[in-house]
Amino acid sequence: MEINVNESNGVAIVYLKGRLDLSSGTALKEQIKTLFNDEKIKIHLNLSDVEFINSSGLGALVSIMKETRLRKGRLSLSNLASYVQEIFDITQLSHIFEIFPTEEEALSSYQSIKIG
């Protein structure tokens, strides 16, 4: 999986490309840990290029969400392909993640909500 990080108005935007499975989920958690170490606690994950996700990938996202919450930060997701959204719905994770149709909508929501 390719992981690229950008930043906009204090929000770290993480672009994921490829498979989100056991191996890449571990790599993603490591990448997010480096953001936390840099005191970046507003994280947005753009999943538009995720071509596959399984329960291990979902587990990595849940783990990141809980860690973000512990740090009193915020995690959002956007651009889920229909089959990825379906898996979130089946596992009921769509109820606990903040999911936006587009990255723009997600980022503008950060402007109207103040953390901490």
Binding site: R19, D21, L22, S23, T26, F52, N54, S55, S56, L58, G59, V62, S63, M65, K66, Y83, I87, I90, T91, Q92, L93, H95, I96
Partner: protein, 142 residues
């Protein structure tokens, strides 16, 4: 390709994407529709990850065997590990709390396929059998 066919992988993290690549080639070659491929690859990935982590505990000396059978009516895969007390662990599996880090794989398998069965092998490993009945409209004829 003659079915059933057998694929064997060492218990290392890299084996899962390697299996996915190989399966995708085989399924495409066999004219399996993209939708059926997506479901079949997901459920095999769940069973394979279970074998890798909970069965063989990522021991590279142990291998995972995937037996694949494809015909016009069904897609079938048997995923066999060399772990211990695999069936017992499966029987203890319970519905996962919504915010748990793991434990969703079995539920996803059961959601997507027509039949999933777990069986203990002679040496204590776990054999997971997945059967997906094909939709007539999804079968690509050459």
């Amino acid at each position: 390709m003659i079915f059933p066919t057998q694929l064997k992988y060492p218990s290392i993290l890299e084996s899962e994407p390697a299996l996915a690549d190989q399966l995708k080639k085989i399924l495409t070659q066999q004219g399996v529709s993209e939708e059926e491929q997506r479901i079949f690859l997901l459920v095999i990935s769940e069973a394979f990850t279970n074998a890798l982590v909970h069965g063989n505990r990522l021991d590279p000396q142990k291998s995972i065997t995937v037996c694949l059978d494809i015909n016009d009516q069904t897609l079938r895969a048997d995923i066999i590990d060399q772990g211990e007390r695999g069936l017992e662990k499966i029987m203890q599996h319970q519905m996962t709390e919504i915010e748990a880090d793991s434990g969703r794989g079995i539920n996803l398998m059961k959601h997507y396929v027509d039949d999933v069965q777990f069986e203990q092998t002679g040496d204590g490993g776990l054999k997971t059998s997945i059967i997906l009945h094909r939709k007539a409209s999804a079968i690509t004829k050459c």
